[in-house]
């Protein structure tokens, strides 16, 4: 009997059942593949660390003058069980060329593409810590003449194994064959900000021997019993050339970003489950309403509630199982594809548990949906036999009639009235549509608003750049120059570039931020210091920084700290802090505080009067070019790129991109697939709801046709219901989107270091993209209501 009922039902509600099946299949596929993705990456980072022999702490010394003192200090610490180092040689983009093979006997020479503000290093295979691994996760072994690249470098430059790299050092050129795509735990991840080309040790030494003072960085690794204490003690030693400190936990953080895609897919999967459950509820409620008379008859002849309920539970069990099986089938290739993209850059360990994880997720989904099915079909218990036979009507009413009065509407068209009246009479029925539309309209604004905010002047100023500058540039060292360590070298370089510009007829003044990792003593206690990235404006005519409280530090003994540093260290404007400059302790008065994105919002700003000539810089920021021009930043950046190809020229928004990596472009790239996905989602929901309405109201439609309503009137009637909901959801989603900006986007930007006014592109966020979704809804209405043409007077038998 069950089989017959099921067969009849599946045939009768083909469209509705197919949509439910699609949602359940997608939910199962997305949930399973994202769960396995997150599981393997979370566990994989441990495996990767183990295979790469990651040390508890890794530090980078930028100069060898402190090497001996550092090693002495390492030797004195009892908790440090072992340590070792290897050297890396910094290399510039213009020293590298690629020779890509076109065919067996021809090749093309290309410039090297380096995405983002990444430092490039040459290293060698065979180090002790953070070892590069081959594609199978084994320790990398290279022959002389070979080089290994990480996946992101291969991808950015569209390389193949067998292509060659040409490195120019001084007047000598070296050529190596790309032999392996390696997995490098530290340098293979774009968030580390460093890339390494791995050579055979003898090749590496040969290249180093060419130049008298190669730009060497020492990578020290050491294992310790107490990581925090050792790092704290190390910071107190005042090693001025200590650039970066990476502890074991940070590696995991580097690969957390790899889980973002998995996380996003999981969120989509959970959203789809919620939507599936809403659809399921509506499907069940409609089916029960439609079958009320049959239920009444079954009850009247003495069938128990559960016996009737079983029929529906069985139907949805079959539907969910089929959906989950399809979803499981889809989840395996999707899961493998997601892991494949990650496994290019990290060692994931054994992934044979994938099958099991997917099965567990699918079974969980079946259990969730079936429990909900039991819950929703409990409504059936409330239907009495008489009530059911009367189609749920008791013939009693104690409250005011629902809906509107047609005769009272003087100006509204009949069809628009019918649509609105239906919505008002059955508000709960339309909530699912309202919620989905609102979510879609709000979701679509998130990447748009994020992108607009990231492009705003406020964002540029939060990276301590002057928004008024004509154009920006970075890396002004000449090919033969080492990295600048002192502000004097930087000032000279700025003057040199100014001169180069002047030679071509451009009168410009250049300025930049020099960065120091300055140790500030905040409590007056000798050993309690905090290392804070300290900005020092070089060659700027005026201080363009903005302050949220207090004033800019102007005098030689004044300083400003970011709000985060002030709060973290309980500092206030007017407090005095000390730091060592030229080896002498100097006191500074805090005059102001601000928020910015430098070092995740933890920085200090020195006045321009203090003499920093003898302090070692840790680096410098974007160079701001100020000049009188009618050209836009884009036009000027393009013009200078042609006239001064030795330098990289950027607009303000491109300068941000250099600082924050590809997130901004990712946001922009997400917009179209996200719009498409949301469009498909709302189209499916709209088709589903309309199909349900048509099944339920077939008799009423037939009656309207019989009394002279045309098919298009009825299609318009159904369309009007959806349109009222679209209109309402658009109205609701504007304040909702503002709330999302405030409670979702603002905190995200705050995590990065500073509060920011979320920028809204009104035309795009509230007109263009909602209109795209609206077009999707309109097409769904058109498709779903085509069937109305086939309903005729004979279908009046279904009227209730």
């Amino acid at each position: 009997m069950w089989y017959e009922i099921l067969k009849k039902d599946l045939k009768k509600r083909k469209g509705i059942n197919i949509i439910l099946l699609v949602f359940i299949s997608l939910s199962a596929a997305f949930l399973s593949s994202s769960a396995s993705n997150i599981y393997f990456i979370a566990n994989g980072s441990n495996t990767f660390m183990e295979y790469s022999n990651v040390s508890d702490v890794m530090v980078f010394l930028s100069m060898d003058k402190e090497k001996e003192r550092f090693e002495d200090w390492l030797g004195t610490r009892e908790e440090i069980t072992e340590f070792d180092y290897e050297s890396l040689c910094e290399i510039k983009v213009n020293q590298i060329h690629l020779i890509k093979k076109k065919s067996s006997d021809s090749a093309e020479r290309h410039e090297f593409v380096n995405q983002g503000p990444t430092n490039l290093y040459m290293g060698y295979a065979g180090g002790t810590y953070a070892k590069p691994l081959d594609d199978r996760g084994n320790e990398l072994v290279l022959k002389e003449g070979e080089v290994a690249f990480t996946a992101n470098t291969v991808y950015d430059n569209d390389l193949d194994l067998g292509d060659e790299i040409e490195i120019t050092i001084g007047d000598k050129t070296f050529r190596y064959k790309i032999a392996v795509q390696c997995k490098d735990i530290m340098y293979g991840n774009e968030f580390s900000g460093m890339k390494r080309f791995v050579f055979h040790k003898s090749d590496y030494e040969r290249m180093l021997s060419v130049k008298e003072n190669p730009n060497i960085v020492y990578q020290y690794g050491f294992n310790t019993k107490t990581i925090e204490d050792t790092v704290s003690s190390m910071n107190k030693q005042g090693f001025s050339s200590l650039m970066i400190t990476i502890t074991r936990d940070m590696y995991k953080l580097l690969y957390v970003f790899e889980m973002i895609i998995g996380g996003l897919v999981m969120v989509i999967g959970i959203c789809l489950i919620l939507i599936s459950l809403m659809i399921l509820r509506f499907s069940i409620v409609f089916t029960l309403e439609e079958n009320e008379q049959e239920i009444g008859v079954m009850k009247a002849i003495g069938m128990r509630n559960f016996s009737i309920q079983k029929i529906y539970i069985f139907k949805y069990l079959v539907l969910v199982t089929v959906g989950v099986v399809i979803g499981f089938g889809l989840s395996l290739p999707v899961g493998r594809w997601m892991l494949d993209s990650v496994s290019q850059s990290m060692v994931l360990g054994k992934t044979n548990l994938m099958f099991l994880i997917h099965i567990v997720c699918c079974i969980t989904l079946i259990l969730i949906v079936e429990s909900m099915c039991i819950l929703f079909t409990n409504k059936l218990k409330k239907i009495s036999a008489v009530e059911a036979i009367r189609y749920g009507e008791k013939g009693e009413r104690y409250s005011k009639r629902k809906g509107l009065r047609l005769h009272a509407k003087k100006h509204m068209g009949t069809i628009a009235f019918l649509g609105l009246n239906d919505v008002l009479c059955n508000k709960r029925r339309y909530i699912v549509l309202l919620v989905t539309f609102c979510i879609s309209f709000v979701l679509i604004t998130i990447p748009l608003n994020t992108w607009s905010t990231m492009n705003s002047d406020e964002m540029i100023s939060k990276f301590d750049l002057n928004t008024e500058s004509a154009v920006y540039m970075n890396k002004i060292e000449k090919q033969e120059d080492s990295n600048y360590h002192y502000v004097g070298e930087l000032k000279e370089a700025l003057k040199r570039v100014e001169q180069e510009l002047a030679n071509q007829g451009y009168k410009a003044s250049l300025s930049t931020n020099a960065f120091y990792f300055q140790e500030w003593n905040i409590s007056g206690q000798e050993d309690e210091t905090v290392k804070v990235l300290t900005n020092y404006l070089v060659a700027a005519k005026e201080d363009f920084y903005e302050y949220s409280e207090g004033d800019a530090p102007i005098l030689e003994n004044e300083v400003a700290f970011s709000k985060k540093v002030m709060e973290k260290n309980n500092l206030h404007i007017g407090d005095t802090v000390t730091t060592k400059i030229k080896g002498e302790k100097k006191s500074f008065l805090i005059t102001g505080s601000y928020t910015d994105y430098m070092q995740l919002g933890e920085s200090a700003r020195l006045n321009r009067e203090v003499n920093m000539d003898d302090e070692i810089m840790s680096g410098y920021g974007m160079v701001m070019v100020d000049m009188d021009t009618d050209l836009t930043q884009k036009e000027l950046a393009d013009k200078f790129s042609k006239e001064f190809p030795a330098y990289n020229w950027y607009t303000g928004s491109e300068a941000i991109e250099v600082n924050i990596g590809s997130i901004k472009e990712t946001m922009k790239a997400m917009q179209i697939p996200m719009t498409a996905m949301l469009c498909i989602l709302i189209m499916l929901i709209t088709v589903f709801m309309i199909k349900l309405f048509i099944v339920r109201e077939k008799g009423q439609i037939a009656m309207l046709k019989s009394i002279g309503f045309q098919s298009w009137h009825i299609r318009l009637w159904i369309a009007m219901r959806i349109m009222w909901i679209v209109l309402l959801s658009m109205m609701i989603s504007i304040p909702l989107s503002m709330l999302t900006n405030h409670f979702v986007l603002s905190p995200i930007f705050k995590i990065m270091g500073a509060e920011l006014k979320i920028q809204v592109e009104i035309l795009q966020a509230y007109v263009i993209y909602p209109l795209i979704l609206f077009a999707g809804i309109a097409s769904a209405i058109f498709i779903a209501t085509i069937h109305i043409r086939k309903i005729d007077s004979k279908d009046m038998a279904n009227v209730q």
Partner: protein, 253 residues
């Protein structure tokens, strides 16, 4: 004047590759102001004739003329327009929109056909008069589930009248009503006919059919015979019923 004329009307349904000829060359004329009853055994094609002749269903062959205009050649939308403005329908089941009150259900087809908004006032007036005439003014604001079957059927009759149709088609209008309600509904239909409205009605009930001016007997998809009873009067009701009964018995009813 001839309101409706069916010539050699055929309707064939195909069920499981089997042809079922429900109407076979039916010829029927209905004059203005006439009240015609269609009787016949179950499955004889009564309802199909009503649906086909009113343009709700498509004829397989033959022609239907409405005031001399051949509606079988019109498009679906044109026929719908005629049904909306010039025809009224009363069905056995009281089909109405669930989310509208009785009053709004009544005025719905008129509001839909109104060419301008100013007509709405006139429609409201007409609806009130018709409802008062059929005694359902006090249930105007009720939901359709809050009135009796008789009241609902009278509301359906008012709805069928709201556009001042040239003809009303009634399919078993008393089929789901008790004796008292049937009497009231038929009384109203007779009143409408007296006022000049043409009515074509399908029924099983001899008592109901005896109120018609002319009764056609349909069997196996063809009109086998017809009986002229003349205009209805209460005084001759019993005699009409007896005559009709005898005639039907002769035909094998």
């Amino acid at each position: 004047m001839c309101v409706l004329k069916a010539t050699n009307l055929c309707k064939t349904y195909v069920v499981n590759k089997r042809q079922n000829n429900v109407l076979r060359n039916v010829n029927l004329e209905i004059q203005e102001g006439e009240m015609v009853g269609i009787m016949g055994p179950s499955g004889s094609g009564k309802t199909t004739l009503l649906y086909t002749i009113s343009g709700m269903d498509k004829a397989t062959a033959g022609t239907i003329e409405f005031y001399g205009k051949e509606i079988t050649k019109l498009t679906g939308n044109q026929i719908s327009d005629i049904r909306l403005k010039k025809m009224g329908f009363v069905f056995q089941q009281m089909y109405m929109l669930k989310n509208l009150s009785i009053y709004d259900n009544i005025i719905l087809p008129a509001f839909q056909s109104a060419s301008n908004k100013s007509e709405r006032k006139e429609i409201n007036e007409r609806a009130k008069v018709l409802m008062a005439k059929l005694g359902i003014s006090d249930v105007a604001e009720n939901d359709i589930s809050e009135v009796s079957g008789g009241q609902l059927q009278r509301a359906c009759i008012v709805r069928s009248m709201i556009n001042n149709p040239n003809i009303i088609f009634a399919d078993e209008p008393t089929g789901s009503l008790n004796k008292q309600n049937s009497y009231e509904v038929m009384k109203e239909l007779n009143k409408l006919n007296e006022e000049g409205t043409t009515i074509m009605m399908v029924t099983h009930d001899v008592k109901v059919a005896s109120r018609c001016e002319r009764v056609c007997y349909i069997e196996d998809g063809d009109i086998r015979d017809e009986m002229k009873l003349g205009k209805y009067t209460d005084a001759l009701a019993r005699e009409r019923e007896q005559n009709l009964n005898q005639w039907l018995m002769k035909l094998g009813w």
